[in-house]
Chain length 259, copies 2
């Protein structure tokens, strides 16, 4: 195998690794036989109490490598030294990939979500949970600008983060331009838009962009968008929670199929 | 007018009054010209600072009665002496009514939600917001067992509580029996149910019962239910957030109409 191929394989592998931290989240993953783990990281100054022993035993049952680190090194691995509680775990998320890789293999008429500054971890977790359960082929997620995939998001997602088709990118605008160049509709959700989400169709596929709950979709993304869509509301209600909006997008086609 | 009629009119009036407490929630209501208020209650030991002065002025502009109470009396009015901050306001919610009254005037094929121990205020607020925005004719709400309609719920509802069609009852099982006797389908939502929400139809109307997020629908309600419905999920996701479930119910008919 050539060096470049090895490099790309390793890169694709690491894209699929989510490093979870905190004793409870790590324990929950190790206890779930449906999830595949790569290695357990422990700080070498952890007190060997009940839960640390339990984590070690579960890792040994799975024949996982256990690595000991200084607390500072562990903080670099978890990227959250304040909340990692001396514990981190590399979890393989089979449906994670980079947006570049994903674009080559998306089904015709794919439906993607894109997250434009979803900073509330509860909303992010709920969005991922609903998107994974519904008819969404991928969730475009930039690490910069959105809540990190930490314990609060994992909890709010009811553990579905590990199964969700997250399409990773560095900067959302660049990812959206790639999708637009591939012929997809870029649809900014906006409560004031004239056109209804429920009558939107685009045969080459659509990316539905959810904006920050206070600010809405950013100006930069608005300039890239090809469509602006709203959800029709009654009783003078002015907007919906962003996770509710995501859920309605995720289940729109299921509902239509069942009608 | 006969005494009994006067009594029933007064009762119907008080059913539509929601007593809001806390300085910020009260201020927000007084600042919203779309909302009708009945009277402002203040504790007589409030320090006359900026916000109290502002509340008084707004009430005077609306020609609202302002009543002063001892702190203990105010706590009885707000029903939350710890968090009322010496301030309470009676807000008229035109779409509130008792389930008994509502049953006589519901449209044919009405779609109701019913809340069976929704104890998380954020979920309750989101449910109310989505139901008010979508195609739901009423939300059956028993004070006992559910989160109280306090500041956290109002905030999570984005203020839509005041506009929402809340159908009040003492005990949920009794209200559900009334609806069942009127010919409506009583549908317990349950992630494990065989039948899909999206293919459910019942010409005499349906009540969709949402259970507690950990416990699900209670045994007592299960025994009253005529149907059990689930939402089909992909990727091994086992359940949806209860507010998301409510939103999919609320928008199911809108989605079908738009298809």
């Amino acid at each position: 195998m050539k060096d470049s191929e090895q490099y790309l394989e390793r890169k694709a592998f690491f894209e699929r690794v989510l490093t979870v931290y905190g004793r409870k989240p790590v324990l929950e993953v190790l206890q779930d036989p449906a999830l595949t783990c790569h290695q357990l990281h422990l700080a070498d100054n952890n007190r060997e109490d009940g839960i640390i022993t339990q984590l070690r035993e579960l890792a040994q049952q799975r024949e996982l490598p256990i690595k000991n680190h200084s607390r500072a090194a562990l903080a670099r691995i978890s990227r959250n030294g304040r909340q990692d509680q001396g514990v981190a775990l590399d979890v393989l998320c089979p449906a994670f990939q980079s947006i570049d890789t994903a674009l080559d293999s998306l089904p015709t008429g794919a439906r993607l979500l894109a997250l434009d500054s979803i900073t509330n971890p509860q909303n992010l977790g709920m969005i991922i949970r609903s998107a994974a359960a519904g008819a969404i082929d991928g969730i475009i997620y930039a690490k910069r600008g959105n809540a990190a995939l930490g314990p609060l998001v994992i909890k709010a997602s009811a553990g579905t983060v590990y199964k969700a088709p997250l399409l990773l990118c560095d900067k959302l605008p660049d990812a959206l331009k790639l999708c637009r160049d591939a012929g997809m509709a870029i649809c900014a959700l906006d409560a004031k838009a004239e056109h209804s989400l429920f009558s939107h169709q685009h045969s080459a596929g659509s990316v539905f962009v959810l904006g920050n709950e206070s600010e809405g979709v950013s100006k930069q993304v608005q300039q890239i968008a090809t469509h602006t869509l709203s959800i029709p509301m009654r009783n003078g209600v002015e907007s919906l929670n962003v996770a509710v909006t995501a859920s309605l997008i995720a289940f729109a086609s299921e509902l239509n199929a069942g009608a």
